[in-house]
Symmetry: C2
Subunit: 295 residues, 2 copies
Protein backbone atom coordinates (compact mmCIF):
# COMPACT_ATOMS: atom_id res chain seq x y z
CA UNK A 1 0.00 0.00 0.00
CA UNK A 2 1.35 3.38 -0.96
CA UNK A 3 1.83 6.32 1.33
CA UNK A 4 -0.75 8.18 -0.75
CA UNK A 5 -3.33 5.47 0.05
CA UNK A 6 -2.69 5.77 3.79
CA UNK A 7 -3.01 9.54 3.54
CA UNK A 8 -6.30 9.26 1.69
CA UNK A 9 -7.60 6.69 4.19
CA UNK A 10 -6.70 8.88 7.16
CA UNK A 11 -8.14 12.01 5.61
CA UNK A 12 -11.36 10.33 4.58
CA UNK A 13 -12.10 8.65 7.92
CA UNK A 14 -11.01 11.65 9.96
CA UNK A 15 -13.55 13.72 8.07
CA UNK A 16 -16.34 11.17 8.36
CA UNK A 17 -15.68 10.80 12.09
CA UNK A 18 -15.77 14.54 12.66
CA UNK A 19 -19.03 14.82 10.75
CA UNK A 20 -20.51 11.93 12.72
CA UNK A 21 -19.55 13.49 16.06
CA UNK A 22 -20.77 16.93 15.07
CA UNK A 23 -24.14 15.53 14.01
CA UNK A 24 -24.50 13.40 17.15
CA UNK A 25 -23.87 16.35 19.45
CA UNK A 26 -26.08 18.70 17.43
CA UNK A 27 -29.00 16.27 17.81
CA UNK A 28 -28.78 16.16 21.61
CA UNK A 29 -31.77 17.56 23.46
CA UNK A 30 -29.63 19.47 25.98
CA UNK A 31 -28.80 23.05 27.05
CA UNK A 32 -26.94 24.72 24.18
CA UNK A 33 -23.94 25.74 26.33
CA UNK A 34 -23.08 22.11 27.09
CA UNK A 35 -23.45 21.12 23.44
CA UNK A 36 -21.18 24.01 22.43
CA UNK A 37 -18.57 23.02 25.02
CA UNK A 38 -18.66 19.36 23.91
CA UNK A 39 -18.45 20.31 20.24
CA UNK A 40 -15.66 22.84 20.80
CA UNK A 41 -13.23 20.21 22.06
CA UNK A 42 -14.44 17.43 19.77
CA UNK A 43 -13.79 19.66 16.75
CA UNK A 44 -10.50 21.12 18.02
CA UNK A 45 -8.50 19.03 15.58
CA UNK A 46 -5.97 16.36 16.37
CA UNK A 47 -4.79 13.40 14.37
CA UNK A 48 -7.68 11.12 15.45
CA UNK A 49 -5.05 8.43 15.86
CA UNK A 50 -7.28 6.17 17.98
CA UNK A 51 -10.24 6.10 15.57
CA UNK A 52 -7.86 5.66 12.62
CA UNK A 53 -6.28 2.66 14.37
CA UNK A 54 -9.73 1.19 14.90
CA UNK A 55 -10.74 1.72 11.26
CA UNK A 56 -7.42 0.31 10.01
CA UNK A 57 -7.84 -2.79 12.19
CA UNK A 58 -11.28 -3.44 10.74
CA UNK A 59 -9.74 -2.95 7.27
CA UNK A 60 -7.16 -5.65 8.15
CA UNK A 61 -10.06 -8.13 8.35
CA UNK A 62 -11.24 -6.87 4.94
CA UNK A 63 -14.47 -5.57 6.41
CA UNK A 64 -15.95 -2.10 5.82
CA UNK A 65 -14.33 0.24 8.38
CA UNK A 66 -17.50 2.30 8.60
CA UNK A 67 -19.14 -0.37 10.81
CA UNK A 68 -16.80 0.85 13.54
CA UNK A 69 -18.04 4.46 13.42
CA UNK A 70 -20.07 4.54 16.69
CA UNK A 71 -17.18 2.91 18.54
CA UNK A 72 -14.65 5.29 16.97
CA UNK A 73 -16.83 8.22 18.00
CA UNK A 74 -17.18 6.88 21.56
CA UNK A 75 -13.43 6.39 21.77
CA UNK A 76 -12.67 9.90 20.54
CA UNK A 77 -15.27 11.37 22.92
CA UNK A 78 -13.64 9.60 25.84
CA UNK A 79 -10.16 10.66 24.72
CA UNK A 80 -11.48 14.23 24.40
CA UNK A 81 -13.08 14.25 27.86
CA UNK A 82 -9.72 13.16 29.31
CA UNK A 83 -7.96 16.08 27.60
CA UNK A 84 -10.55 18.58 28.89
CA UNK A 85 -10.18 17.35 32.47
CA UNK A 86 -6.37 17.06 32.21
CA UNK A 87 -6.13 20.69 31.13
CA UNK A 88 -8.05 22.02 34.17
CA UNK A 89 -6.26 24.41 36.55
CA UNK A 90 -6.15 21.79 39.32
CA UNK A 91 -4.59 19.26 36.92
CA UNK A 92 -2.08 20.36 34.24
CA UNK A 93 -3.39 23.95 34.15
CA UNK A 94 -2.95 24.39 30.40
CA UNK A 95 -4.32 27.44 28.60
CA UNK A 96 -3.71 26.10 25.11
CA UNK A 97 -4.00 22.77 23.33
CA UNK A 98 -3.15 22.35 19.66
CA UNK A 99 -2.82 26.11 19.44
CA UNK A 100 -6.40 26.75 20.60
CA UNK A 101 -7.65 27.89 24.00
CA UNK A 102 -8.46 24.97 26.27
CA UNK A 103 -12.10 24.23 27.10
CA UNK A 104 -12.13 25.88 30.53
CA UNK A 105 -10.48 29.04 29.15
CA UNK A 106 -13.44 29.42 26.79
CA UNK A 107 -16.38 28.06 28.81
CA UNK A 108 -15.12 28.32 32.40
CA UNK A 109 -14.18 25.50 34.74
CA UNK A 110 -17.69 24.39 35.71
CA UNK A 111 -18.87 23.86 32.13
CA UNK A 112 -15.53 22.28 31.18
CA UNK A 113 -15.92 19.69 33.94
CA UNK A 114 -19.52 19.05 32.87
CA UNK A 115 -18.60 18.87 29.16
CA UNK A 116 -16.04 16.19 30.08
CA UNK A 117 -18.63 14.28 32.12
CA UNK A 118 -21.12 14.59 29.27
CA UNK A 119 -18.64 13.26 26.68
CA UNK A 120 -17.67 10.32 28.87
CA UNK A 121 -21.30 9.38 29.47
CA UNK A 122 -22.43 9.96 25.89
CA UNK A 123 -19.55 7.80 24.65
CA UNK A 124 -21.02 4.73 26.34
CA UNK A 125 -24.46 5.65 25.04
CA UNK A 126 -23.18 5.71 21.45
CA UNK A 127 -21.93 2.14 21.76
CA UNK A 128 -25.09 0.88 23.47
CA UNK A 129 -27.19 2.45 20.70
CA UNK A 130 -25.02 1.24 17.77
CA UNK A 131 -27.19 -0.49 15.17
CA UNK A 132 -24.72 -2.66 13.22
CA UNK A 133 -23.46 -4.71 16.17
CA UNK A 134 -25.16 -7.42 18.17
CA UNK A 135 -25.81 -7.10 21.91
CA UNK A 136 -23.01 -9.51 22.89
CA UNK A 137 -20.46 -7.44 20.95
CA UNK A 138 -21.70 -4.19 22.41
CA UNK A 139 -21.50 -5.51 25.98
CA UNK A 140 -17.95 -6.73 25.35
CA UNK A 141 -16.93 -3.42 23.81
CA UNK A 142 -18.41 -1.44 26.71
CA UNK A 143 -16.76 -3.65 29.34
CA UNK A 144 -13.39 -3.33 27.57
CA UNK A 145 -13.69 0.38 27.02
CA UNK A 146 -14.61 1.01 30.66
CA UNK A 147 -11.73 -1.14 31.87
CA UNK A 148 -9.27 0.62 29.57
CA UNK A 149 -10.58 4.12 30.35
CA UNK A 150 -11.32 3.78 34.08
CA UNK A 151 -9.34 3.39 37.31
CA UNK A 152 -7.54 0.27 36.01
CA UNK A 153 -6.70 2.08 32.78
CA UNK A 154 -6.42 5.70 31.69
CA UNK A 155 -7.67 7.26 34.94
CA UNK A 156 -5.20 5.10 36.87
CA UNK A 157 -2.39 6.36 34.63
CA UNK A 158 -3.44 9.96 35.07
CA UNK A 159 -3.56 9.42 38.84
CA UNK A 160 -0.02 8.01 38.86
CA UNK A 161 1.12 10.86 36.61
CA UNK A 162 -0.13 13.47 39.09
CA UNK A 163 1.43 11.59 42.00
CA UNK A 164 4.74 11.51 40.12
CA UNK A 165 4.89 15.23 39.40
CA UNK A 166 8.20 16.89 40.27
CA UNK A 167 9.63 13.55 41.35
CA UNK A 168 12.34 11.50 39.72
CA UNK A 169 10.52 8.32 38.73
CA UNK A 170 12.03 4.91 38.12
CA UNK A 171 11.73 3.44 34.64
CA UNK A 172 8.98 1.10 35.89
CA UNK A 173 6.96 3.93 37.42
CA UNK A 174 7.25 5.98 34.24
CA UNK A 175 6.25 3.01 32.10
CA UNK A 176 3.20 2.31 34.28
CA UNK A 177 2.04 5.86 33.58
CA UNK A 178 2.49 5.59 29.81
CA UNK A 179 1.02 2.10 29.54
CA UNK A 180 -2.09 3.39 31.29
CA UNK A 181 -2.47 7.09 30.56
CA UNK A 182 -1.99 6.84 26.79
CA UNK A 183 -1.46 3.13 26.14
CA UNK A 184 -4.78 1.75 27.33
CA UNK A 185 -7.00 3.74 24.99
CA UNK A 186 -4.69 3.08 22.03
CA UNK A 187 -4.91 -0.62 22.87
CA UNK A 188 -8.68 -0.42 23.10
CA UNK A 189 -8.80 1.13 19.63
CA UNK A 190 -7.11 -1.93 18.12
CA UNK A 191 -8.95 -4.48 20.28
CA UNK A 192 -12.30 -2.89 19.46
CA UNK A 193 -11.58 -3.57 15.78
CA UNK A 194 -10.72 -7.18 16.69
CA UNK A 195 -13.94 -7.57 18.71
CA UNK A 196 -16.09 -6.10 15.93
CA UNK A 197 -14.51 -8.46 13.38
CA UNK A 198 -14.70 -11.49 15.66
CA UNK A 199 -10.96 -12.14 15.72
CA UNK A 200 -9.71 -15.52 16.90
CA UNK A 201 -8.28 -15.70 20.40
CA UNK A 202 -4.76 -15.85 18.96
CA UNK A 203 -5.31 -12.85 16.70
CA UNK A 204 -6.76 -10.97 19.65
CA UNK A 205 -3.59 -11.58 21.69
CA UNK A 206 -1.36 -10.59 18.79
CA UNK A 207 -3.29 -7.34 18.38
CA UNK A 208 -2.99 -6.68 22.10
CA UNK A 209 0.80 -7.14 21.94
CA UNK A 210 0.96 -4.98 18.82
CA UNK A 211 -1.04 -2.19 20.46
CA UNK A 212 0.98 -2.24 23.68
CA UNK A 213 4.25 -1.78 21.78
CA UNK A 214 2.68 0.84 19.55
CA UNK A 215 1.41 2.78 22.57
CA UNK A 216 4.87 2.85 24.14
CA UNK A 217 6.45 3.82 20.81
CA UNK A 218 3.93 6.66 20.58
CA UNK A 219 4.95 7.95 24.00
CA UNK A 220 8.70 7.62 23.43
CA UNK A 221 8.33 9.53 20.16
CA UNK A 222 6.42 12.18 22.09
CA UNK A 223 9.28 12.55 24.58
CA UNK A 224 11.85 12.74 21.76
CA UNK A 225 9.77 15.35 19.94
CA UNK A 226 9.73 17.42 23.11
CA UNK A 227 13.50 17.73 22.74
CA UNK A 228 13.95 17.75 18.98
CA UNK A 229 10.56 18.94 17.76
CA UNK A 230 9.47 22.08 15.99
CA UNK A 231 7.29 24.27 18.20
CA UNK A 232 5.15 25.39 15.27
CA UNK A 233 4.28 21.83 14.32
CA UNK A 234 3.76 20.67 17.89
CA UNK A 235 1.49 23.54 18.89
CA UNK A 236 3.13 23.63 22.34
CA UNK A 237 6.46 24.93 23.64
CA UNK A 238 9.39 22.57 23.03
CA UNK A 239 11.18 21.53 26.19
CA UNK A 240 8.05 21.84 28.36
CA UNK A 241 8.64 18.39 29.88
CA UNK A 242 12.13 19.35 31.05
CA UNK A 243 10.72 22.54 32.51
CA UNK A 244 8.24 20.50 34.54
CA UNK A 245 11.04 18.19 35.72
CA UNK A 246 9.07 15.32 34.24
CA UNK A 247 10.56 11.89 33.99
CA UNK A 248 10.97 11.13 30.29
CA UNK A 249 12.52 8.36 28.20
CA UNK A 250 15.43 10.57 27.05
CA UNK A 251 16.04 11.66 30.65
CA UNK A 252 16.19 8.06 31.85
CA UNK A 253 17.78 6.41 28.79
CA UNK A 254 19.61 9.34 27.07
CA UNK A 255 18.28 10.64 23.75
CA UNK A 256 20.15 7.98 21.82
CA UNK A 257 18.95 5.25 24.17
CA UNK A 258 15.35 6.48 23.81
CA UNK A 259 15.64 6.26 20.02
CA UNK A 260 16.90 2.69 20.23
CA UNK A 261 14.06 1.86 22.61
CA UNK A 262 11.58 3.38 20.19
CA UNK A 263 12.88 1.23 17.35
CA UNK A 264 12.72 -1.90 19.51
CA UNK A 265 9.03 -1.28 20.18
CA UNK A 266 8.26 -0.45 16.55
CA UNK A 267 9.90 -3.69 15.45
CA UNK A 268 8.05 -5.78 18.05
CA UNK A 269 4.76 -4.11 17.07
CA UNK A 270 5.24 -4.97 13.42
CA UNK A 271 6.26 -8.54 14.16
CA UNK A 272 3.01 -9.11 16.07
CA UNK A 273 1.04 -7.62 13.22
CA UNK A 274 2.68 -9.89 10.70
CA UNK A 275 1.78 -12.98 12.72
CA UNK A 276 -1.95 -12.20 12.48
CA UNK A 277 -1.72 -13.16 8.80
CA UNK A 278 -4.27 -10.50 8.00
CA UNK A 279 -4.27 -7.65 5.51
CA UNK A 280 -2.19 -5.37 7.75
CA UNK A 281 -0.39 -3.07 5.28
CA UNK A 282 -2.28 -0.04 6.51
CA UNK A 283 -1.50 -0.78 10.18
CA UNK A 284 2.18 -1.34 9.26
CA UNK A 285 2.33 2.06 7.60
CA UNK A 286 0.53 3.68 10.52
CA UNK A 287 3.12 2.16 12.84
CA UNK A 288 5.93 3.67 10.79
CA UNK A 289 4.14 6.98 10.74
CA UNK A 290 3.75 7.01 14.52
CA UNK A 291 7.42 6.16 14.94
CA UNK A 292 8.53 8.94 12.62
CA UNK A 293 5.87 11.61 13.23
CA UNK A 294 7.06 15.19 13.64
CA UNK A 295 4.02 16.48 15.58
CA UNK B 1 -46.77 -4.14 54.61
CA UNK B 2 -45.74 -2.71 57.95
CA UNK B 3 -43.41 0.21 58.47
CA UNK B 4 -41.08 -2.22 60.28
CA UNK B 5 -40.85 -4.33 57.12
CA UNK B 6 -39.89 -1.32 55.01
CA UNK B 7 -37.28 -0.32 57.58
CA UNK B 8 -35.78 -3.81 57.59
CA UNK B 9 -35.79 -3.93 53.78
CA UNK B 10 -34.03 -0.58 53.52
CA UNK B 11 -31.49 -1.41 56.19
CA UNK B 12 -30.69 -4.82 54.74
CA UNK B 13 -30.24 -3.70 51.14
CA UNK B 14 -28.36 -0.53 52.10
CA UNK B 15 -25.85 -2.70 53.94
CA UNK B 16 -25.54 -5.26 51.15
CA UNK B 17 -25.05 -2.48 48.59
CA UNK B 18 -22.35 -0.80 50.67
CA UNK B 19 -20.52 -4.10 51.10
CA UNK B 20 -20.79 -4.81 47.37
CA UNK B 21 -19.36 -1.41 46.45
CA UNK B 22 -16.58 -1.61 49.02
CA UNK B 23 -15.52 -5.03 47.73
CA UNK B 24 -15.68 -3.96 44.08
CA UNK B 25 -13.44 -0.94 44.68
CA UNK B 26 -11.03 -2.88 46.89
CA UNK B 27 -10.51 -5.41 44.09
CA UNK B 28 -9.50 -2.79 41.53
CA UNK B 29 -5.96 -3.02 40.26
CA UNK B 30 -5.36 0.74 40.49
CA UNK B 31 -3.26 3.30 42.42
CA UNK B 32 -4.35 3.22 46.07
CA UNK B 33 -5.05 6.96 46.23
CA UNK B 34 -7.78 6.73 43.59
CA UNK B 35 -9.33 3.70 45.29
CA UNK B 36 -9.33 5.57 48.61
CA UNK B 37 -10.93 8.64 47.03
CA UNK B 38 -13.62 6.51 45.32
CA UNK B 39 -14.31 4.55 48.52
CA UNK B 40 -14.40 7.67 50.70
CA UNK B 41 -17.38 9.16 48.87
CA UNK B 42 -19.11 5.83 48.20
CA UNK B 43 -19.07 5.06 51.93
CA UNK B 44 -19.95 8.58 53.07
CA UNK B 45 -23.47 7.53 53.98
CA UNK B 46 -26.69 8.73 52.47
CA UNK B 47 -30.07 7.12 52.22
CA UNK B 48 -29.25 5.10 49.09
CA UNK B 49 -32.69 6.10 47.86
CA UNK B 50 -31.94 5.24 44.21
CA UNK B 51 -30.73 1.68 44.86
CA UNK B 52 -33.60 1.11 47.31
CA UNK B 53 -36.09 2.23 44.65
CA UNK B 54 -34.52 -0.21 42.22
CA UNK B 55 -34.63 -3.10 44.69
CA UNK B 56 -38.23 -2.27 45.67
CA UNK B 57 -39.29 -2.21 42.01
CA UNK B 58 -37.81 -5.67 41.48
CA UNK B 59 -39.64 -6.78 44.63
CA UNK B 60 -42.89 -5.50 43.07
CA UNK B 61 -42.47 -8.14 40.36
CA UNK B 62 -41.91 -10.74 43.11
CA UNK B 63 -38.38 -11.39 41.94
CA UNK B 64 -35.30 -11.49 44.18
CA UNK B 65 -34.06 -7.88 44.53
CA UNK B 66 -30.46 -9.06 44.72
CA UNK B 67 -30.39 -9.65 40.94
CA UNK B 68 -30.31 -5.85 40.64
CA UNK B 69 -27.15 -5.44 42.73
CA UNK B 70 -24.66 -4.57 39.92
CA UNK B 71 -27.13 -2.04 38.51
CA UNK B 72 -27.81 -0.57 41.96
CA UNK B 73 -24.05 -0.24 42.52
CA UNK B 74 -23.57 1.39 39.11
CA UNK B 75 -26.39 3.81 39.83
CA UNK B 76 -25.00 4.76 43.25
CA UNK B 77 -21.50 5.19 41.77
CA UNK B 78 -22.85 7.56 39.14
CA UNK B 79 -24.91 9.45 41.72
CA UNK B 80 -21.77 9.69 43.88
CA UNK B 81 -19.56 10.94 41.04
CA UNK B 82 -22.10 13.70 40.40
CA UNK B 83 -21.94 14.77 44.06
CA UNK B 84 -18.11 14.85 44.02
CA UNK B 85 -18.03 17.02 40.89
CA UNK B 86 -20.92 19.24 42.10
CA UNK B 87 -19.06 19.99 45.32
CA UNK B 88 -15.90 21.24 43.53
CA UNK B 89 -14.81 24.85 44.07
CA UNK B 90 -15.70 25.80 40.48
CA UNK B 91 -19.19 24.32 40.93
CA UNK B 92 -21.06 24.61 44.27
CA UNK B 93 -17.84 24.99 46.30
CA UNK B 94 -19.04 22.94 49.27
CA UNK B 95 -16.68 21.94 52.08
CA UNK B 96 -19.09 19.54 53.75
CA UNK B 97 -21.63 16.96 52.64
CA UNK B 98 -23.65 14.91 55.11
CA UNK B 99 -21.49 16.36 57.89
CA UNK B 100 -18.25 15.02 56.37
CA UNK B 101 -15.57 16.88 54.43
CA UNK B 102 -16.19 16.79 50.69
CA UNK B 103 -13.92 14.70 48.50
CA UNK B 104 -11.73 17.55 47.24
CA UNK B 105 -11.23 18.86 50.80
CA UNK B 106 -9.70 15.49 51.72
CA UNK B 107 -7.94 14.40 48.50
CA UNK B 108 -7.49 17.70 46.65
CA UNK B 109 -9.24 18.87 43.50
CA UNK B 110 -7.25 16.81 40.99
CA UNK B 111 -7.93 13.47 42.67
CA UNK B 112 -11.55 14.45 43.35
CA UNK B 113 -12.09 15.09 39.64
CA UNK B 114 -10.39 11.79 38.79
CA UNK B 115 -12.32 9.86 41.46
CA UNK B 116 -15.52 11.17 39.89
CA UNK B 117 -14.35 10.15 36.42
CA UNK B 118 -13.36 6.73 37.76
CA UNK B 119 -16.75 6.14 39.41
CA UNK B 120 -18.64 7.19 36.30
CA UNK B 121 -16.58 4.87 34.10
CA UNK B 122 -16.57 1.97 36.55
CA UNK B 123 -20.36 2.23 36.88
CA UNK B 124 -20.80 1.29 33.23
CA UNK B 125 -18.27 -1.51 33.62
CA UNK B 126 -20.26 -3.03 36.51
CA UNK B 127 -23.36 -3.29 34.31
CA UNK B 128 -21.46 -4.69 31.32
CA UNK B 129 -19.88 -7.34 33.56
CA UNK B 130 -23.07 -8.30 35.42
CA UNK B 131 -23.56 -12.07 35.35
CA UNK B 132 -27.30 -12.53 36.01
CA UNK B 133 -28.55 -10.49 33.05
CA UNK B 134 -28.52 -11.25 29.35
CA UNK B 135 -26.68 -9.07 26.83
CA UNK B 136 -29.86 -7.48 25.46
CA UNK B 137 -30.89 -6.36 28.95
CA UNK B 138 -27.43 -5.01 29.72
CA UNK B 139 -27.32 -2.97 26.51
CA UNK B 140 -30.74 -1.54 27.24
CA UNK B 141 -29.76 -0.68 30.82
CA UNK B 142 -26.53 1.00 29.70
CA UNK B 143 -28.27 3.01 26.97
CA UNK B 144 -30.93 4.15 29.46
CA UNK B 145 -28.47 4.96 32.21
CA UNK B 146 -26.26 6.99 29.87
CA UNK B 147 -29.26 8.88 28.53
CA UNK B 148 -30.53 9.62 32.05
CA UNK B 149 -27.09 10.56 33.43
CA UNK B 150 -25.60 12.40 30.45
CA UNK B 151 -26.20 15.70 28.62
CA UNK B 152 -29.88 14.88 28.01
CA UNK B 153 -30.30 13.96 31.66
CA UNK B 154 -28.48 14.73 34.90
CA UNK B 155 -25.57 16.64 33.32
CA UNK B 156 -28.06 18.74 31.37
CA UNK B 157 -29.87 19.54 34.62
CA UNK B 158 -26.65 20.47 36.38
CA UNK B 159 -25.73 22.70 33.43
CA UNK B 160 -29.07 24.51 33.61
CA UNK B 161 -28.71 24.80 37.39
CA UNK B 162 -25.37 26.59 37.03
CA UNK B 163 -26.72 28.84 34.30
CA UNK B 164 -29.64 29.74 36.56
CA UNK B 165 -27.56 30.69 39.59
CA UNK B 166 -28.46 34.04 41.13
CA UNK B 167 -31.26 34.48 38.64
CA UNK B 168 -34.99 34.44 39.24
CA UNK B 169 -36.14 31.45 37.22
CA UNK B 170 -39.59 30.79 35.85
CA UNK B 171 -41.47 27.75 37.14
CA UNK B 172 -40.71 25.92 33.88
CA UNK B 173 -36.98 26.65 34.07
CA UNK B 174 -36.85 25.46 37.68
CA UNK B 175 -38.79 22.32 36.86
CA UNK B 176 -36.47 21.50 33.94
CA UNK B 177 -33.56 21.58 36.40
CA UNK B 178 -35.25 19.28 38.91
CA UNK B 179 -36.62 16.86 36.32
CA UNK B 180 -33.09 16.45 35.00
CA UNK B 181 -30.63 17.06 37.84
CA UNK B 182 -32.32 14.77 40.36
CA UNK B 183 -35.33 13.35 38.52
CA UNK B 184 -33.58 11.49 35.72
CA UNK B 185 -31.50 9.18 37.94
CA UNK B 186 -34.46 8.48 40.24
CA UNK B 187 -36.46 7.58 37.15
CA UNK B 188 -33.68 5.34 35.92
CA UNK B 189 -33.69 3.50 39.27
CA UNK B 190 -37.32 2.51 38.79
CA UNK B 191 -37.05 1.82 35.05
CA UNK B 192 -33.97 -0.36 35.59
CA UNK B 193 -36.08 -2.57 37.86
CA UNK B 194 -38.73 -2.71 35.15
CA UNK B 195 -36.15 -3.62 32.48
CA UNK B 196 -34.60 -6.34 34.64
CA UNK B 197 -38.02 -7.85 35.30
CA UNK B 198 -39.15 -7.56 31.69
CA UNK B 199 -42.11 -5.30 32.42
CA UNK B 200 -44.80 -4.93 29.78
CA UNK B 201 -44.80 -1.74 27.74
CA UNK B 202 -47.78 -0.47 29.72
CA UNK B 203 -46.15 -1.24 33.08
CA UNK B 204 -43.00 0.48 31.89
CA UNK B 205 -44.92 3.66 31.09
CA UNK B 206 -46.74 3.57 34.44
CA UNK B 207 -43.41 3.22 36.25
CA UNK B 208 -42.00 6.12 34.26
CA UNK B 209 -44.95 8.32 35.26
CA UNK B 210 -44.63 7.14 38.87
CA UNK B 211 -40.93 7.95 38.97
CA UNK B 212 -41.32 11.38 37.39
CA UNK B 213 -43.88 12.43 40.02
CA UNK B 214 -41.77 10.87 42.77
CA UNK B 215 -38.69 12.77 41.62
CA UNK B 216 -40.51 16.08 41.67
CA UNK B 217 -42.00 15.26 45.09
CA UNK B 218 -38.49 14.48 46.34
CA UNK B 219 -37.27 17.88 45.20
CA UNK B 220 -40.23 19.85 46.55
CA UNK B 221 -39.76 18.12 49.92
CA UNK B 222 -36.08 19.11 49.74
CA UNK B 223 -37.01 22.77 49.21
CA UNK B 224 -39.53 22.65 52.07
CA UNK B 225 -36.96 21.02 54.36
CA UNK B 226 -34.57 23.85 53.55
CA UNK B 227 -37.05 26.20 55.21
CA UNK B 228 -38.54 23.99 57.92
CA UNK B 229 -35.82 21.40 58.46
CA UNK B 230 -33.57 20.66 61.38
CA UNK B 231 -29.91 21.47 60.63
CA UNK B 232 -28.65 18.52 62.68
CA UNK B 233 -30.73 16.05 60.72
CA UNK B 234 -29.99 17.62 57.33
CA UNK B 235 -26.22 17.86 57.83
CA UNK B 236 -26.19 21.24 56.06
CA UNK B 237 -27.18 24.74 57.09
CA UNK B 238 -30.93 25.40 56.89
CA UNK B 239 -31.82 28.28 54.60
CA UNK B 240 -28.80 27.77 52.33
CA UNK B 241 -30.97 27.90 49.22
CA UNK B 242 -32.35 31.30 50.17
CA UNK B 243 -28.84 32.54 50.83
CA UNK B 244 -27.84 31.52 47.32
CA UNK B 245 -30.89 33.32 45.92
CA UNK B 246 -31.97 30.02 44.40
CA UNK B 247 -35.33 29.60 42.82
CA UNK B 248 -37.30 27.14 44.94
CA UNK B 249 -40.83 25.78 45.02
CA UNK B 250 -41.73 27.71 48.20
CA UNK B 251 -40.29 30.90 46.67
CA UNK B 252 -42.37 30.48 43.52
CA UNK B 253 -45.52 28.91 45.01
CA UNK B 254 -45.41 30.03 48.69
CA UNK B 255 -44.70 27.44 51.37
CA UNK B 256 -48.33 26.40 51.50
CA UNK B 257 -48.53 26.18 47.72
CA UNK B 258 -45.39 24.04 47.65
CA UNK B 259 -46.94 21.62 50.16
CA UNK B 260 -50.08 21.32 48.04
CA UNK B 261 -47.92 20.73 44.98
CA UNK B 262 -46.00 18.05 46.84
CA UNK B 263 -49.21 16.23 47.75
CA UNK B 264 -50.45 16.43 44.17
CA UNK B 265 -47.30 14.68 42.94
CA UNK B 266 -47.40 12.06 45.71
CA UNK B 267 -51.00 11.24 44.83
CA UNK B 268 -50.25 10.99 41.09
CA UNK B 269 -47.22 8.79 41.82
CA UNK B 270 -49.30 6.38 43.88
CA UNK B 271 -52.09 6.25 41.32
CA UNK B 272 -49.62 5.17 38.63
CA UNK B 273 -48.19 2.53 40.93
CA UNK B 274 -51.63 1.11 41.63
CA UNK B 275 -52.38 0.74 37.94
CA UNK B 276 -49.37 -1.57 37.44
CA UNK B 277 -51.36 -4.22 39.35
CA UNK B 278 -48.10 -5.45 40.88
CA UNK B 279 -47.04 -6.07 44.45
CA UNK B 280 -46.25 -2.39 45.09
CA UNK B 281 -46.79 -2.02 48.88
CA UNK B 282 -43.11 -1.34 49.45
CA UNK B 283 -42.96 1.33 46.72
CA UNK B 284 -46.12 2.91 48.14
CA UNK B 285 -44.53 3.15 51.57
CA UNK B 286 -41.33 4.52 50.09
CA UNK B 287 -43.35 7.19 48.33
CA UNK B 288 -44.94 8.22 51.62
CA UNK B 289 -41.54 8.22 53.27
CA UNK B 290 -40.06 10.48 50.59
CA UNK B 291 -43.00 12.84 50.92
CA UNK B 292 -42.66 13.05 54.70
CA UNK B 293 -38.89 12.70 55.21
CA UNK B 294 -37.22 15.04 57.66
CA UNK B 295 -33.68 14.80 56.22
Amino acid sequence: MSHATLDAFMKSYKQRLEEDMRLAVSQLNAPSIIKEAMDYSLQAGGKRIRPILLFATIQAFQRDPVIGMPIAAALEMIHTYSLIHDDLPSMDNDDFRRGKLTNHKVFGEAFAILAGDALLTFGFQRIAEATDLDAEQKVRLIAFLAKHAGPEGMVGGQTADIQGENKQLTFEEMEYIHLHKTGKLLTFAVLAGAIICEASKQQFQLFETFATHLGLAFQIRDDILDIEGDQMKLGKPVGSDTGNQKSTYPALLTLDGAKKHLNKHLKAAKQSLQKTELNTELLMELTDLIGARDH
